[in-house]
Symmetry: C2
Subunit: 358 residues, 2 copies
DNA sequence: CTGTTAGCGCATTCAA
DNA sequence: TTGAATGCGCTAACAG
């Protein structure tokens, strides 16, 4: 029924070992023999048995890419980019050669699912794992992650972080590409301050995530730098946390406007949240940017099409994802020290302007 | 070094077979024995060897989800939804039980890569494959796909189409969830005609894709129904094809406005394209919807936040993806005849209005 | 309910 | 450059 390597060997009149060598390509085989084997493969429409091959070789061609929310283009762009470096372009024959299988795993932002997926990938003896997006900072989870990743690395799985800071207790067992969320957040708020804003609302992400914390820290750094951090209680009052989605942006913004009608600008944790913030501002009968400035983070593709176009911080998601993919494949050397910080670029557009006078 | 099932058996003082039975859970085992085994598993931090297990069982716990472009939320939403039904919620232990590993494969819309991924999944002896999005209609590719899918089905892989029409020569070997692209396209254009529009530009997707063809056919059906299809050359002139991205929407719209300055409405192949169309309209100094109405398709999350909010056709992407996931898991029975058509709902919003008089 | 016995299909020694 | 032999770690009969 199912064609095996032995069938191919028989038809090509060689030993199974030779067929294996041809298929894996990492061993000298006479050209004529190779020819004969490949013809037999095509004739029989043979497809390698992955599990058997992985069992014998003790490694698989699976590469896992973990994301928090694949419906969010932030992750979609990084994951897609990583996959371009891993899957290989194919040779056009559809026959599939030595390519790796890049697989995207959607954790939904849940620490448990993150661990479960890592176990599943460990079970598959994955060749590499790419972890994208911010991490959850619960100590117990961090410890569990560190232990799990150590075990994976131990088993020969390459670990790459993409857009995520290295673990606190992180040994040099990983390569990490971290976004400069703090710097980006700082420059964004500095921009608002330079425009003349003094009371700035902040719609933050979930408090337990590193991304949230770093962006917020950048924001407060800027406030502090301008001497605007006079009252900590005030800062609290102008900050509302919520998930990284539109609805949260909408509701948090309403809340901020309720708490402090005098805000002249709202900074959102990311562009999706900013869209919700814009909707809330508009629904209150206020104009952007004349009455309230709004800013986002990430510079997702749709942000330039918002009306007015969204001021935001650009993260090179595609480039970072592609680089992570290459690191996972061992096609590129890790950065010095294992960690590279990826710069964030301030994109000033129409959604921010000086506050109304008075 | 690496702990095996035999090690667990030894520590639990049972046979390897018993351990296997406990782990797979599909066989009666005494509670006390199970207890002992599970403790041994935890003590030794044992993780099943997936390849070995797949080899012996001749099936794996991999489920493939093929998408054209994972950076596009259209696919991200469907893929994420499918994964919720496949990955299982986990048991919170991070230990991973009998879950399947749902993996997303990004074809980039390339027929070759689509085939390559199917081969890779075939090699892994995938339990199921979900194909999302429109198909490419090149006869050679369709034949190759049919052959490949037949082989997969033959090997016991469940095949599910999601948002994609069944193959022409499709046997009943698959379950297919098809979107009513034609009906949605028709109703959208009927809406514009009812508003009074007579010269409607159409920014279509790539000509070789079923999605493109069906939406365009719906559009023309509506024109025909209103007696507006008087001149085929005219219809050609008002239709411009391009990829499903923002840039294409921008450029095609400029082209349409150049060819026929008298258009009062532009229909885009999807929402992303519509965003580009809006930008083009605006850059020409025209207002939406006063000067030109613009409509999209899909109702992606950002569409309601466009200004004005985008009139579009809602596709229940999440629900469809989740259902596809359940079908792939065998948790739900296939629809009668193997094919279900999923309704599309017209969402009338601010971006469409009656044309200016005169 | 549990143990014993055979492979699953391939990569990799070691010889030739 | 090629062939023969061995075992990867597990599941699935079949007994008991």
């Amino acid at each position: 029924m199912t064609v095996t390597l032995a069938d191919v060997a028989a038809r090509a009149r060689v030993s199974p070992a030779t067929v294996s060598r041809v298929l894996n390509g990492n061993y000298p085989v006479a050209a004529s023999t190779r020819e004969r084997v490949l013809r037999a493969v095509d004739d029989l429409d043979y497809v390698l048995n992955g599990p058997a091959s992985s069992l014998a070789a003790a490694t698989s061609d699976l590469v896992g890419i973990l994301v928090n929310d694949i419906a969010d283009p932030f992750f979609g762009i990084m994951a897609g980019a990583a996959q371009t470096q891993i899957g290989g372009p194919g040779d056009g024959s559809g026959r599939a050669g030595g390519e790796k299988l890049a697989v995207i795993c959607n954790t939904g932002g849940s620490p448990e699912r993150e661990l479960t997926y890592l176990t599943l990938l460990q079970r598959q003896r994955a060749a590499a794992v790419v972890l994208t997006g911010g991490a959850v900072e619960y100590p117990a989870h961090q410890a569990a992650m560190a232990a799990k990743l150590a075990k994976l690395a131990d088993a020969g799985t390459r670990i790459v972080f993409c857009g995520r800071p290295p673990l606190p207790e992180g040994d040099a067992l990983v390569a990490a590409l971290a976004f400069d969320n703090r710097g980006g957040g700082r420059r964004l708020t500095e921009h608002l301050i330079a425009l003349g804003h003094r009371r700035i609302g902040y719609v933050a992400g979930p408090p337990e995530r590193t991304t949230t914390r770093h962006r917020l820290e950048g924001h407060r750094e800027a406030l502090r730098g301008a001497g605007l951090d006079t009252d900590p209680a005030d800062e609290e009052r102008l900050t509302v946390h919520g998930p990284y989605d539109r609805r949260s942006g909408y509701e948090a913004t309403l809340e901020i406007l309720r708490r402090e009608p005098g805000v002249t600008a709202v900074v959102a944790a990311n562009d999706t949240v900013a869209l919700g913030a814009c909707a809330a501002v508009r629904d209150q009968g206020l104009r952007i940017p004349q009455d309230i400035s709004v800013a986002g983070f990430d510079d997702l593709p749709f942000s330039v099409d918002a009306v007015p176009a969204l001021t935001t911080v650009r993260l090179p998601l595609f480039e970072a994802g592609a680089r992570a993919g290459r690191l996972a494949m061992g096609k590129e050397n890790p950065p010095p020290g294992g960690i590279a910080t990826i710069a964030a670029e301030l994109m000033i557009r129409g959604s921010t302007a000086p506050p109304r006078v008075g």
